[in-house]
């Protein structure tokens, strides 16, 4: 890679800033325990979780709110 001037030629480059790299702990769901209540989907501050609980690890910062809110403790935070 050769960079000249920290220049960005195409719009939408914010997506290239993969904030998932900030994560120390990663949320992992036990889908057998999941009751599909959707609370994790509602609470995720980065909109990284689908209703089926498939986290987008490119952008999930590992804040742990989903694990905290899960009523059946189906989500555990695992060290990266």
């Amino acid at each position: 890679m050769k960079s000249i001037g920290a220049a960005v030629r195409d719009p939408g480059s914010t997506r290239r800033n993969k904030t998932g790299s900030w994560r120390t702990f990663k949320p992992v769901a036990d889908k057998e325990k999941c009751i599909g209540c959707g609370l994790c989907y509602l609470y995720c501050p980065d909109g990284c979780i689908s209703l089926e609980y498939d986290p987008d690890y490119d952008y999930c910062k590992g804040c742990g709110i989903c694990a905290e809110e899960c009523p059946v403790k189906a989500i555990t935070m695992e060290r990266e």
Partner: protein, 379 residues
């Protein structure tokens, strides 16, 4: 050939006029120099077709320079001491954005106490900004260096801004004969600027100086480091090309009677003139003393210095101080060569540096007692 008896401030303005920058943003109030004053004259008199922008501070001067350079035109600005300190933030941005701005800096002391006389603390404090810093010994060299600075900065493989440093008062306020070149000769040496890398334009819009997250920043800084290192070869090349055309040769360092010297003084800027006189006297008295003048402070000429110092004992003169360490140049020399070396802090805030001071430095290097000494302190 035209020779004018002018100050280095005027010599720099003459060179800038020949370089034909499209935009000149300056803050023309203290601590400015005659550089901006003369350029304002040229523009007002129609001798120079530039956009002269009187901005409201040095921070704005550098910001405007960044904007204009980002738009792909040749830019010049000038500053000094507190002014340079005030533009500290965009000075780093200019280098990070790889904009080929050329700026003249009249080296003067920083507050406090308030002092407008010469030392080199101002530009030394910007040494880690990523700018190339070239220190001139005379008004003639200042004239020649401005033209070379554009050629270095604008090289598509380099794209790094260049600061041309001249000692405030000693060079900017005293006159010397300066040999000028013609506009035709200047055009031939320095053709109009055609940007080839990133720059702002309507037919291919882009963002400059954007956010780079931890996934990109390190590489971008590493690329700047590579460019600054690569500029060493270019500074030599451009200096040689200029010399072949106009008869005055410049490189990263200048060696003066250092070939067989047992003691070599290392210094930057106008003080080297006095040092050369003292060396001539000492040589006549049979002492093997020499000088290495650092012209390019950044990039630091590590390899050239290593080759030039051989096994001589070194005395490094600094018109700046990195408190509790000694001069910045001294630290750089020590980290580059293994020779026995001593640091001397001298001339801060415009204290006169006399031939006696230089002789004292040579004597103290012959019989050293301390690593770092302040020379010329009053009892």
């Amino acid at each position: 050939m035209v020779v004018k008896v002018i100050s280095s401030a005027e010599a720099i303005s003459e060179a800038v006029k020949l370089a034909r920058p499209s935009v000149i943003p300056v803050y023309p109030i203290t601590p400015q120099t005659k550089i901006s004053e003369k350029l304002a004259d040229y523009v007002a008199d129609g001798e120079l077709d530039s956009q002269y922008i009187r901005v409201e501070s040095e921070h704005s001067a550098m910001s405007a320079a960044i904007g204009a350079s980002g738009a792909g035109v040749r830019v010049f600005t000038a500053t000094s001491s507190q002014g340079l300190a005030y533009m500290h933030e965009p000075v780093f941005a200019a280098a990070g954005m790889r904009l080929p701005i050329v700026m003249a800096n009249a080296n003067r002391a920083l507050s406090a106490p308030i002092n407008i006389w010469n030392d080199q603390q101002d530009s030394i404090s910007e040494r880690d900004s990523g700018w190339i810093q070239l220190f001139c010994e005379t008004g003639q060299e200042a004239f020649d260096t401005v033209l070379q600075a554009y050629k270095i900065a604008e090289n598509p493989e380099i794209c790094v801004p260049v600061m041309v440093c001249v000692d405030g008062f000693i060079l900017t306020h005293t006159v010397d004969p300066v040999e000028l070149i013609s506009q035709e000769e200047a055009n031939e040496f320095l053709p109009p600027f055609t940007p080839v890398n990133a720059y702002l334009r309507t037919d291919d819009p882009m963002s400059l100086g954007t956010l780079a997250d931890p996934g990109h920043y390190l590489e971008i800084r590493y690329d700047l480091e590579k460019a600054v290192n690569a500029s060493k070869e270019l500074i030599e090349e451009v200096g040689k090309e200029y010399g072949d055309k106009f008869g005055r040769y410049y490189g990263l360092i200048e060696e003066y009677k250092s070939e067989d010297a047992e003691i070599i003084l290392i210094a930057m800027g106008s003080i080297c003139g006095t040092i050369k006189d003292v060396i001539d006297e000492q040589r006549e008295a049979g002492k093997k003393v020499g000088l290495i003048r650092i012209r390019s402070y950044r990039p630091f000429p590590k390899e050239a210095l290593k080759e030039a110092v051989k096994d001589a004992r070194l005395a490094v003169l600094d018109k700046d101080i990195s408190f509790s360490v000694g001069g910045a140049l001294f630290s750089d020399v020590r980290s580059s060569v293994n020779n026995e070396s001593y640091g001397f802090v001298i001339g801060l805030g415009g204290r006169d540096i006399t031939p006696d001071n230089i002789e004292e430095i040579i004597a103290k290097t012959e019989n050293p007692t301390n690593d770092v000494e302040w020379i010329g302190l009053r009892e």
